[in-house]
């Protein structure tokens, strides 16, 4: 089924265009065209929703796009690199706030991904062998993943209320750990609140993936190891974790990207303006674009964010796949 002729012929040809040609030729062109036709709907949608908007976003980042030009953004004057220099001028308020938001996001992402991975892996390893209630527990653990983000996060927002929330009721009223009820959704505590919600929401995905990965480890490996007298911890270290490495490689990357770009959790938890301590980058850019109506600067910040994610992903993939042939999709 190898296609040798230049595929451009097939790509351009609409399904009926070759009708007058002899039958054999039609079949050949069809065969060349077929994979492209199969991909066409996906490609068109990716172009419409992801790729073209991304290019426009990059163009916008070089324009002075304030509220006056929203109706006709093409008419907005070019701004050169002004939006970028504004974003990375860390002495001025805008750049300073962006840098702060970036550091907050980094700290948040590292902690959240680490905890999600740890909880997910521990639970999956504990549940590797069958025991009574295992299927039920597995279903329970997937509930946070299945719940719609807004429903789950709004419940957490209720729990974190200062006067009528569960968290203060337990910490202050029942355990007496704080002198007065704390604020969780404003001030420094908001970072903790955000982290708790993010881990609660994110760890089941790690659990799901690691669990699937564990099912692919051949049982014989464990049998052989226990005949050789390896204990459970040794089996974990020598068999389970090394076998999970390819799974973890993808899992950590996906968790990292999702967490770093997370908008939904802080948006539902805090509303449009996140407290400074939990000012994640997506919210920050949203705020810079929609609340101040400065889309040029917002786009420049988004492009910088994308560049950062590209670099991190590239370095990560280079480091983790060294010595291991990159999986060819």
């Amino acid at each position: 089924m190898t296609v040798t002729a230049e595929p451009a012929v097939g790509k351009e040809a609409p399904p009926g265009a070759t009708a007058p040609a002899p039958r054999r030729r039609t079949g050949r062109v069809r065969r060349i065209a077929l994979p492209y036709l199969l991909l066409l709907p996906a490609l068109l949608l990716e172009l419409l929703v992801h790729l073209v908007p991304m290019v426009i976003g990059i163009v916008m980042s070089f324009k002075e796009l304030t509220q006056f030009y929203i109706r006709d953004w093409g008419a907005a004057p070019w701004a050169g690199l002004d939006n970028y220099s504004l974003s990375v001028d860390f002495d001025a308020p805008i750049g300073k706030a962006l840098l702060h938001s970036f550091f907050v996001t980094c700290a948040f992402t590292v902690l959240s991904v680490g905890l999600c991975w740890l909880l997910g892996t521990t639970a999956a390893v504990y549940m590797q062998e069958n025991f009574r209630g295992r299927g039920f527990l597995r279903a329970v653990f997937l509930v946070p993943y299945a719940l719609p983000v807004y429903a789950a996060v709004i419940t957490w927002a209720f729990m974190f209320q200062r006067d009528n929330g569960l968290v203060n009721h337990v910490l202050h009223d029942q355990l007496g750990l704080t002198d007065s009820p704390s604020f969780w959704l404003i001030g420094d505590n908001s970072f903790i609140a955000l982290l708790v919600v993010s881990v609660w929401k994110g760890w089941p995905f790690a659990f799901l993936i690691v669990m699937a990965g564990l099912q692919n480890i051949p049982k014989e490996l464990y049998e052989a190891a226990s005949i050789d007298g390896a204990g459970m911890l040794q089996q974990l270290r020598r068999i389970t974790l090394p076998s999970l490495r390819p799974v973890n490689q993808v899992l950590v990357l996906v968790l990292f990207l999702w967490t770093f770009n997370d908008f939904n959790t802080p948006y539902v938890l805090f509303g449009k303006a996140a407290p400074e301590a939990a000012d994640l980058i997506s919210i920050h850019i949203y705020q810079s674009s929609f609340v101040t109506w400065n889309f040029g600067t917002g786009s420049a910040m988004s492009v910088l964010l994308l560049l950062f994610l590209l670099v991190v992903t590239g370095v990560y993939l280079a480091l983790t796949s060294r010595g291991r042939k990159a999986a060819d999709v």
Binding site: L39, V49, V140, A151, W200, M211, F295
Partner: protein, 279 residues
């Protein structure tokens, strides 16, 4: 193999604590949704002072929840069906044919996963408005616009997962089907798709959840008539007095379809992930 006692105990403790953490918000949601307003306005109570189903009646009139519900169902349902069909075609193309640009396609599609949503939110908004002005097809503010957006969000993961799944279906099967007189599409739908049902169900669940739960684009791209639950639910919280019991009741109601569907189909999801994503 009998596990040592210490292992069993550490497992018990860990899993119990984790279950508590996981179910705490579920308990709060459920119990608060049955409380009278005084219980949720004052200090938190583990147990309601009295049970009432009043919040479940009031939620429908405080905000037009039924309308949001229908909007979400239409948007998420259509996005799921289209996303699955399009992903099946694309994954079949990639897994069964060699052609120029294949690697470029898979890498591009996968890399869209790392785009920050915020980067293309505004451009997409502009594109939809301009398409609307040029052709009269209203994409901005309409369900169609949201459906196109959401189905594309779930496409990369769906295609990626189905490629892995289709590759595990032996090629001899489709070749046998073609010998029997089926075309490539006949082979796809008679042989490959039936063999890949768990993967397809997993992808459908994922696509539905993505569309049902998305907040950012819903908050910008919908208007009063097309508003989905993701935005509509905030209606209870914008009043001066937040009706927390109603918020919890509404959260529970909007969660039921996805959680129930997910738990029913989670076996497929695990099976689908095992064969598809995790190779």
């Amino acid at each position: 193999m009998a596990a040592p006692r210490s292992f069993v105990w550490s497992r018990r403790i860990f899993l119990t604590l984790l279950t508590g953490f996981v179910l705490l918000p579920v308990y709060v949601m459920l119990s608060s949704s049955l409380k009278p307003l005084e219980d949720v306005s004052g200090k938190f109570r583990w147990l309601p002072s009295g049970l009432t189903i009043r919040p479940y009646i009031d939620i429908w009139s405080t905000v037009p929840l039924a309308k949001y519900f229908v909007n979400s169902l239409i948007v998420a349902g259509a996005a799921t069906v289209l996303s699955v069909v399009i992903a099946i075609f694309a994954a079949y193309g990639v897994s069964r044919y060699r052609f120029r640009g294949k690697r470029l396609f898979t890498v591009t599609v996968l890399s869209t996963q790392m785009f920050p949503g915020i980067l293309f939110l505004l451009p997409l908004f502009l594109i939809y408005v301009n398409i609307g002005n040029a052709t009269g097809i209203a994409l901005f503010g309409s369900r169609i616009g949201l459906i196109l957006t959401y189905l594309t969000f779930s496409l990369p993961f769906s295609i990626w997962m189905l490629i892995g799944y289709f590759e595990s279906v032996p090629r001899d099967l489709d070749e046998a089907a073609m010998v029997d007189g089926n075309g490539p599409l006949g082979a796809l739908f008679r042989v490959v798709v039936p063999a890949a049902v768990p993967g397809i169900v997993a992808v459908a669940v994922y696509a539905f959840m993505t569309a049902w739960g998305e907040v950012l684009f819903a908050s910008v791209m919908t208007n009063d008539t097309t508003r989905t639950l993701a935005v509509g639910l905030q209606g209870y919280a914008t009043q001066n007095d937040v009706y927390w019991n109603q918020v919890m009741a509404a959260s529970l109601v909007v969660s039921v379809p996805v959680v129930a569907g997910f738990l029913l189909l989670q076996r497929y999801l695990v099976a689908g992930l095992t064969a598809g994503a995790v190779k």
